[in-house]
Symmetry: C2
Subunit: 752 residues, 2 copies
């Protein structure tokens, strides 16, 4: 189908037509009326139509449908009145030419290959152009070797193996998904000398342990495989060949061999059906407790020659295009302040849930904003809507765009609001903590369609009911429970990585928010598989895309409230108290680690591990890593204390903003507009200079999970104690700079 | 084989011969030498020979081999110089005539029946005379009904079902073993109106979640079935027809219909292979989280007509004989003070591990004590060795014997030392806390054969290493960890029920100890199945019965140290501080329950459960059970405070015992000899007068698990708040009586 034909078809499908003066209502007059007018234009039916179309064929980077989806969106944005264009980057993105997996000992069994069709799901029978299961940026290779089960493949799992004298050197590790980001599994395997890596989806984690397997329910079936990226994004995301710069046509590129974020060993993802065929045959010590999953068999570590697997991957390593769709609605009074809102449009196969449920919500918002604009309304600030490509392989579209426009974004972007797919159930929000109250404010005003209370109230009820049923042990949970009980703002989580906010927040320091709904429906059972389809979404994940509309209303409020008025309504006290909590956590971490180190030494001295070792599963004492020293954190303590005082003073000053002379207002707003960028340290984090935010980062050993105060926290965890001391000072410095700026703003209110 | 022939064969097998003056060494001269001489006579080879013979045929109550084992032991005891006899009781013990289990909808599948042979295990192919899987004291019946999965079948599981509107009325419940005593499952099912009950062994609990399935490892295979008693022993154990009195030939008996401890609905135990055939077909809401087990499928609550089972059981309800073997070695200086030591000899099929690994250790002790006696040594106190019959169906042999000899035991028994099978690994001990130091003392002097340190030091190492690896959350674990770190006495657990100490401790108040080794080897994988065989024990549970000898040495020390010297070395301070801790627990329990009640009411008022309910698994709010009131526990607080002071004074007085005039010593010893019987309240516990110990009881909703200060604790838990108040007073009264006695004893030391 040609693009024009596609657009005509889409228009017909969606009942779109050109704006017509006779239909145009008057522009709404106040914020509440604007939001009501916005809500009235949000349509689940629109979203269903777009979703059906956009998920109708494989839409991974480089596929024809990926480009078609970009072009369809471009046409729609234009049709809705946006100033839109496609920005293209040329990036290294390997796609599999051949993948081979077979058990060769104790018997020959063919494994792997494409996921089979499910009769109820028409997409799954229509896999023309779909790639077989693979993980992007593994290192091609052809190996035959014994298998070692490594549980989640995280550092503590290698400690468990070491205690049993089992090496992965020259072997193929079999890791299960979970416990840390996918890409860490082959990376750690490679660091331990493994020859290859298989990653499977254990049913305890997203299969029958959680949900009925597809198609009875939305859980992962025995044939489901989670694709994904294994690029080492803990160093830097985006195109592996162009760190720090946009992957434009003429950009200076690394070679594939010198790109540090590409793996050296072959790796493949597999189903638990295939994993069980390997696991059932493994020898070696048996596993009880947390290192076993939910397969109906005894888990063994393996590592003997009895079980061997042949693993081979060959990829096409050519550059591929990514198509970012960028749509701009210029601001009326503050055009050089940008509110940026994004979701991505590329998927692993059909990508119906991830990312398109979020993408169609974004499109609903854009359509509604466009319609509002046709009434004569204009935002104060410029609104930029972005539909990213290449998120799945490595946040590529957003990262390259941010890198290509870094100076302009640093000067203009005031907030980045992200989604990445959507489900149904309960609001989940993470972000810069100065925006916590802002997010809560929107959640207070959006109604949950299942219960008719606000999504905030439903979230509070869920936290309280969950705590009653179970136990609330972790600090974060206790904090949320206290907030839910008190009816105050619900705490938002810190941003790690795993979606397109990374470059904004962690490379440039632009405050960011990531939100979505979830906790009901299909869970993660179709995640990154061929079963992430229109049928799966509409049957299990969000029937009728009811929550797609809720997401649009939630994000729309954030966009509207950020785009209108004198300032993005940050509340610095929330940030300051959160940072103070993190400082407390880091101190507790250091003290706990020191205590544990000493205990280990005592126990080893007393022979306790030897004495406790069972002949059923003989283990040796864990390695002595030394004693965590006392680390002087007074500078961080001082900075946090000061920050709390400065933040409360600044919040009070901001509350009086309207009472100040206009020129003073302007000076205060100018001081606060880019204050979050003060949290950036130009040198970045130790060993990964691309990550420059000293408050929020993805963990090098969590991948997605956030590490707050990462320079200090990870230095302690990873026993780089000199780095810890250095980053106590550097982190205190950025916090003090932030407090200086707050003080300067607050002083303006006094010296009127 | 005739008895004489058997004995000759046994003698030949074991190399036994009549005592011979030429072989007789001189009597050892001090306690240490006696223990060394005792140890030298403990032989794993003896134990292996006895075990092989005693587990060579089914030995359940009423079987020919059960009687033969009793007679063989009688002959051996006599041969070893003991004054031995068999005491017989006639008890109601139903054995299955026919058991039927089949799936009838959605299709017909035959289930149940005898466990199949395992080629490696010769016993399993030799099932002549073995009964098929059954649970004793279920109510015969023939029902066909839909199936409801009830997880562990405990009260909280019925709450989960109620929240989902699923009733078990008229249906057959399918419960998994664990989470509470077996007998509570059909009892609670019956109370909720169920028509029948199936109980299966989930692989998460004792199958491949813990051990390789038999015969690869010692874990329960898919065909393994756990037999057991479902008599309502929380009311009273022993013969259901003769509560409180010995089931002698002429005893006045209840009828089967009036015996309250017999179930009314049919029940059968099944394998997880069979359970999976039912579970895979169940409909109804799906189960995630703790209510699911380890089968490789999605768990559903069921309850629809889609899945129906036909369950029928018909039993022979005739009286059967139980044969207690009682062997006495009269004391020299204090013949009217009895140290009683027991294990049982009846099993469910071959009973090799349970009970015979403990029984052959007991026999080793008896042989060694007999040999010591032949050197001229005699204990100060009378030693009574008991080999109980009928423990499995309901602690029958011990209970009837205790009831038949209650007055004499109250007058003479100073301690009861129990074992019930044995494994390898780490010492486990429970008992009256005044004997905690006594148990630790023996453990300090017995060497662990795998590590060559004392079994006490190995236990400490295991607690410390376990705490390092995992987390130590529960109070008991933290207590043990502190003790292990400090190198002090390891705390012993409180006795609930599940073995033959119950009548001694809980009916008469005689202090008791129960010990055994475990934590390595086969675990519970053969428990109460045909696979509990000589092969299983010697391959997995305790190869070579190495720990059988360790158990003999451990128990031998307890027996020798209790039998010699002026007194059983109790330390009252240990009891007092433990009771004070229990009082604290009970107060915390009441406060926590009160808080939870209030939270429930708040959450229900705020609609939190309704708002949090997911359409995937709709649930309603838990029922409001009212608010736990403030309960005045000052009397208990006072009693505990006073007890601690009195106990320390008494311990100090006892330390000076040898310095006191002989007549004063005698008076003090007479005061302390039966002090534990002061913890008995003649009225017993609410609703179950047979249980009279106000400090230690099995829980009515745990069955095996202990409830300390049961009159108060269970009254709070079960919301019988008037009972709680009554039993605060009654419990304080027995503690005060105990403290009075301690004070009187301590006063003697002062008024010399």
């Amino acid at each position: 189908m040609t693009l024009t034909a596609r657009l005509l078809a889409a228009g017909a499908l969606l009942g779109l037509s050109a704006p017509n003066a006779a239909q145009t209502p008057a522009a709404p007059s106040d914020a509440k009326a604007i939001e009501q007018a916005f809500d009235a234009r949000i349509s689940s039916a629109d979203q269903l139509g777009w979703l059906k179309d956009m998920s109708s064929a494989p839409n991974h980077v480089g596929s024809p449908h990926d480009r078609a989806n970009a072009e369809m969106q471009l046409a729609l944005f234009k049709q809705w009145g946006w100033d839109a264009h496609i920005e293209t980057f040329q990036v290294l993105y390997p796609t599999p030419i051949a993948t081979t997996l077979e058990l060769v000992a104790p018997e020959r069994v063919a494994l792997g290959g494409q996921e089979p069709a499910v009769p109820e799901d028409p997409s799954s029978a229509n896999l023309q152009g779909a790639l077989p299961p693979y993980v992007a940026y593994q290192g091609d290779g052809d190996v035959t070797a014994p298998v070692v089960y490594v549980n989640y493949g995280m550092p503590e799992d290698y400690e468990a193996l070491a205690a049993r004298g089992i090496s992965v050197k020259g072997r193929i590790v079999l890791a299960r998904y979970g416990g840390g980001w996918r890409g860490l599994k082959p990376k750690l395997a490679q660091e331990h000398g493994a020859a290859g890596c298989l990653i499977y989806s254990d049913p305890a984690d997203d299969g029958y342990g959680e949900r009925d397997p597809y198609p009875r329910g939305g859980g992962r079936p025995s044939t489901g495989v989670q694709r994904g990226s294994v690029q080492d994004m803990t160093q830097y995301p985006g195109d592996p060949l162009t760190p720090g710069i946009g992957a434009t046509a003429g950009a200076k590129r690394l070679t594939r061999a010198t790109a540090p974020t590409i793996l050296k060993i072959p790796a493949l993802p597999i189903s638990y059906g295939d994993a069980a065929r390997i696991m059932a045959r493994l020898e070696g010590p048996m596993i009880a407790g947390r290192a076993r999953g939910g397969l109906g068999l005894a888990y063994h570590w393996g590592g003997t020659d009895a079980v061997k697997v042949h693993l081979a991957v060959k990829s096409d390593w050519s550059l591929k295009p990514v198509y970012d769709v960028i749509a701009v609605m210029p601001g009326r009074t503050r055009p050089d302040e940008w509110v940026v809102r994004g979701n991505h449009h590329d998927g692993w196969v059909f990508g119906a849930s991830d990312p398109l449920t979020g993408q169609v919500a974004l499109m609903s918002e854009a359509k509604a904003l466009g319609a509002l604009a046709q009434t004569g309304w204009r935002p104060d600030r410029t609104i930029v809507y972005a539909s990213w490509d290449g998120e799945e392989p490595g946040l590529i579209g957003s990262t390259e765009w941010v890198e290509a426009h870094a100076d302009e974004l640093a000067a203009k972007a005031v907030v980045y609001i992200n989604t990445d797919g959507n489900g149904r159930g309960f609001l989940g929000a993470e972000g810069s903590h100065s925006l916590q109250h802002f997010v809560n404010g929107a959640a207070r005003d959006v109604i949950d369609p299942q219960t008719s209370v606000s999504v905030l109230d439903r979230l509070r009820a869920n936290v309280r009911a969950g705590a009653y049923a179970g136990s609330t042990r972790r600090e974060g949970e206790a904090l949320a429970l206290d907030a839910a009980k008190a009816g105050g703002d619900m705490p938002i989580g810190a941003l790690g990585s795993g979606s397109d906010y990374s470059a904004f927040l962690q490379h440039l320091g632009i405050p960011a928010i990531d939100i979505g709904f979830g906790g009901e429906g299909g869970g993660g059972g179709s995640y990154h598989s061929v079963y992430d389809s229109f049928y799966h979404v509409t049957k299990f994940d969000d029937p009728g895309l009811v929550y797609g509309a809720v997401l649009s209303k939630m994000v729309g409020r954030l966009v509207l409230r950020a785009a209108d008025g004198p300032r993005v309504p940050a509340r610095y006290g929330d940030f300051a108290t959160t940072v103070a909590r993190y400082v407390g956590e880091v101190k507790t971490l250091a003290a706990g680690q020191r205590e544990k180190d000493r205990t280990l030494r005592d126990l080893t001295r007393d022979g306790a591990f030897r004495l406790a070792s069972s002949p059923d599963d003989p283990t040796v004492a864990p390695a002595d890593k030394g004693i965590t020293p006392q680390i002087d954190m007074l500078a961080l303590d001082d900075a946090a204390d000061r920050l709390v005082r400065s933040a409360h003073a600044a919040d009070a000053a901001v509350d009086r903003l309207a009472t100040l002379p206009v020129a003073t207002q302007a000076r205060m707003l100018a001081l606060l507009r880019d204050i979050d960028q003060l949290l950036i340290d130009r040198a970045g984090l130790p060993g990964r200079p691309w990550f420059r935010n000293l408050i929020y980062a993805p963990g090098t050993l969590t991948g997605y999970g956030a590490k707050t105060l990462p320079g200090v926290r990870e230095a302690i965890e990873q026993r780089r104690f000199a780095d810890a001391t250095t980053y106590v000072a550097r982190t205190a410095a950025v916090l003090n700079a932030y407090a200086d700026r707050l003080d300067a703003a607050a002083a303006l209110a006094k010296t009127r």
